[in-house]
Symmetry: C2
Subunit: 216 residues, 2 copies
Amino acid sequence: MVFWGLVLARGSSKSIPHKNIQLLDNKPLIGWVLEPMKNSAVFDDIWVSTDDKQIASIAQSYGVKVHDRSQESATDSSSSLAAILEFIKTHRGADQICLVQCTSPFLREQYLKSAYHLMIDQKYDSVFSVYRSHCLRWSIGLNALNFDEHCRPRRQDWTGEYVESGHFYCFTTALVQNDGILQGGKCGVIEIPKKFCLEIDDMFDLQLAKYYRNFF
Amino acid sequence: MVFWGLVLARGSSKSIPHKNIQLLDNKPLIGWVLEPMKNSAVFDDIWVSTDDKQIASIAQSYGVKVHDRSQESATDSSSSLAAILEFIKTHRGADQICLVQCTSPFLREQYLKSAYHLMIDQKYDSVFSVYRSHCLRWSIGLNALNFDEHCRPRRQDWTGEYVESGHFYCFTTALVQNDGILQGGKCGVIEIPKKFCLEIDDMFDLQLAKYYRNFF
């Protein structure tokens, strides 16, 4: 079984220019995930797929491999799925891949180890990271989606829901190639405490992340 | 039409002792909502319902009225609905009430004014605060709840959902007394930017709130 880690890191980004290499405590965001990926020691190889020379250079400084991502799979409208399929087509050999997103910098190696355990030891087809939520949701048309408004649940009476945290998605290459999905088959999750789940979408989030650093 | 603001502020709190009067920038959490409530000038009266002498005293220092909340409606298992009904039974006279939660300290008076406009000028039966979310959610049993896992939505292609922000719930007293609900009838929402939607559940959130203060 060959298990690869993969980071998709486009050069262009709408919200923050060169978001993937913005600095958080003097370390680029991509470094925040490459370090726990390396330290977890669960991957046979770690790849960064990018269309950008500067990102490629930074990735190499972390001792990981670089895939020269095609322009077609790196546009604003490209899906992660398309970029993963393009990567798999070029680099064969992995049975399982863990897509790690550098927009979730507070990744801990223990969560990758837990995902490895499910994927490799327990032979799951897919495993992704989540956090637990008790948010009450409504459709834009104002229909209650996850509770009965005539009997609002108390937090302690409700197990809640999982929300994709965005840290990682592990899948067999068979699942993504044959079924075109990242989540399916024998599917599991790794639950991550909410405080590690800040996602960097804009400059506000990036500044907030600097403060989170005071706590861990 | 008589429109009252109401804050429910129990003395006991599981996560943080006396949470409602914990200090954020030297101002108790309850002050963070009483000030915009007063400044909005949309309420004929503002009430704090509490079973705690210290909270009552702090509420009075903000020049608002205090309801002596019964022990039965202030236990860990009491619902907000029960506490509202108890309040309404004791203090008659309001046609509409706006329940404001001091666990959402970054309330802005403009949002209360917008809610007033809908409730009073547009004669809505209920209006509550929300933020827009594009989170992908799963049941604990791992069924995708708000998307098709065979065709994961891109953020730009999906209007998203509303999530209750927790800042406030406005309703007619008729709605809550006759139907036992806070949300229904002619129902609307006030959409609040996510950065104002931090909810204080535990000490981590409270410390985080201090940093949010750097931004606004």
